[in-house]
Symmetry: C2
Subunit: 274 residues, 2 copies
């Protein structure tokens, strides 16, 4: 399969993995977000993922998000696509390694940043308040922030470097460390890939609080979520019960899922056998 296809398959395998406490999976819908929305998101992102093999990173990302949100306007895989687009490019350039991915993101331009801001027009994305001096380039302004981005000469990499409380941004500026770690773990595990993805999700969440949960509910809750998942140590029945509690409380560790999707992609590119 070509890189864009492996990226699409990674999105589908990620959402199929169960149980992943707090997130949508093949057995659990959230009140406002369903398994089927993720299927439609993965299909709609296809053209943007294909563009990521050769077009500008920003344009490819915007197109992927636009396609993802096309059917229902839902944000299902915004963060995952933000990781997958540069990884697809690195793969199609023949160097899917931390160094190869870092080269791709460091080569992004101000035009890539502008396209990234336009992507926020296609669906709603949960983002924290930036520091006051960065208010003019708050991503929630969408395309309206582009003149300020251009004036300051910010590349997409620069924009990501501002988002250090977000673990998707941190992958961009930190050599995709967790994405590659998850890929190693998925290769090491056995069984169906979506089962391995669910295991890797729980392990990653236990290891590090989810930044989407932290932004929505505070860092204390995010830490507690990680401790609870760690305490249940892979017990499927207990994790299923925890899933019900998390869903009731609106606790949705989406950033960890994004990292797992990226790890699945890397593992698929390396030819992992299901």
């Amino acid at each position: 399969m070509r890189p864009a296809e492996n990226a699409q398959l990674a999105l589908l395998l990620e959402v199929s993995g169960t149980p992943k406490p707090g997130n949508v999976d093949r057995e659990r819908d959230l009140p406002d977000l369903r398994f089927e929305d993720f299927l439609a998101g993965a299909v709609g992102a296809g053209a943007g993922l294909r563009a990521a093999e050769s077009d500008s990173i920003g344009i490819a990302f915007e197109r992927a998000v636009e396609g993802m949100a096309d059917l229902h306007g839902e944000n299902t895989q915004f963060g995952a696509l933000l990781l997958l687009v540069p990884l697809v490019r690195a793969a199609s350039e023949g160097d899917l390694s931390p160094a190869g991915a870092e080269r791709v993101v460091r080569n992004t331009t101000v035009e890539d940043a502008a396209a990234f801001y336009r992507a926020f027009e296609h669906c709603s994305v949960f983002v924290s308040d930036p520091p006051a001096e960065w208010d003019a380039v708050d991503v929630r302004r969408g395309a309206a922030a582009i003149p300020a981005v251009e004036e300051r000469g910010l590349t997409l990499f620069d924009v990501m470097a501002l988002g250090d409380a977000d673990d998707v941004a941190r992958e961009w500026t930190g050599g995709f460390e967790r994405s590659f770690r998850v890929a190693d773990r998925i290769e090491e595990l056995s069984g169906p890939l979506s089962d391995r993805a669910a295991t890797a999700f729980c392990e990653e969440l236990a290891r590090r609080p989810d930044t989407l949960v932290a932004k929505k509910h505070g860092e204390g809750i995010a830490r507690r979520v990680s401790e609870q998942v760690a305490a249940f140590d892979g017990n499927e029945r207990l994790l299923g019960a925890l899933a019900r509690v998390f869903v009731e409380r609106g606790i949705n560790p989406g950033t960890t899922a994004d990292v797992v999707a990226a790890g699945l992609f890397v593992a698929l590119e390396r030819g992992v056998e299901a």
Copy 2:
């Protein structure tokens, strides 16, 4: 979404629907065929489905099957793609109706037939023995049968007309009657589309014995399967129990699933709301 994307989504929604006694769904793998194989099949078929919007029907089908089988060489959606490819073309020509679909299939050529035979080289497809006089053009000969196909001047439509014991072929020669009926039913039902697909599957199977089951196990068993599904009349628990029995006995009503995938596509093209 463009037609090729709706076709890909139809494949994903079809396999996600549960319970569908005897078939793979999001809760059930078969011993040799898994839910994840169907995800990979839908992803891999994408390029062929896009080709179906404008390329030759036969070439598009061959490409879709080649992509479907790329990762594991499994036949997951051969029959569904044989229905979807002409329906995608009819949709992209702006006439997704029985008449529009019939025009597409009646316009197929000997070259389309040749590509269809080549598609059998990419994965194994269960087919019955043809009558003796058609032995030279038995599809199981794959590309080796092409000289005989060309000599007899058979178009792909002609080849389908030979396959009247197969309900996918019967859709081709009968105006896609069941595909459009399933689309109507899916629009009429409510709830998530994959749930509606599972309901439509059981209703269609109750109404008409599955030709794949008939070819593998005989017409008596195929009739009995339909009677059992009819008797359980939508009771999810009983249908789940039946699913276990069917899987144990290798009873896999795959043709009915193909027709449901086609019906889902038509419903999506008509803008069905999930």
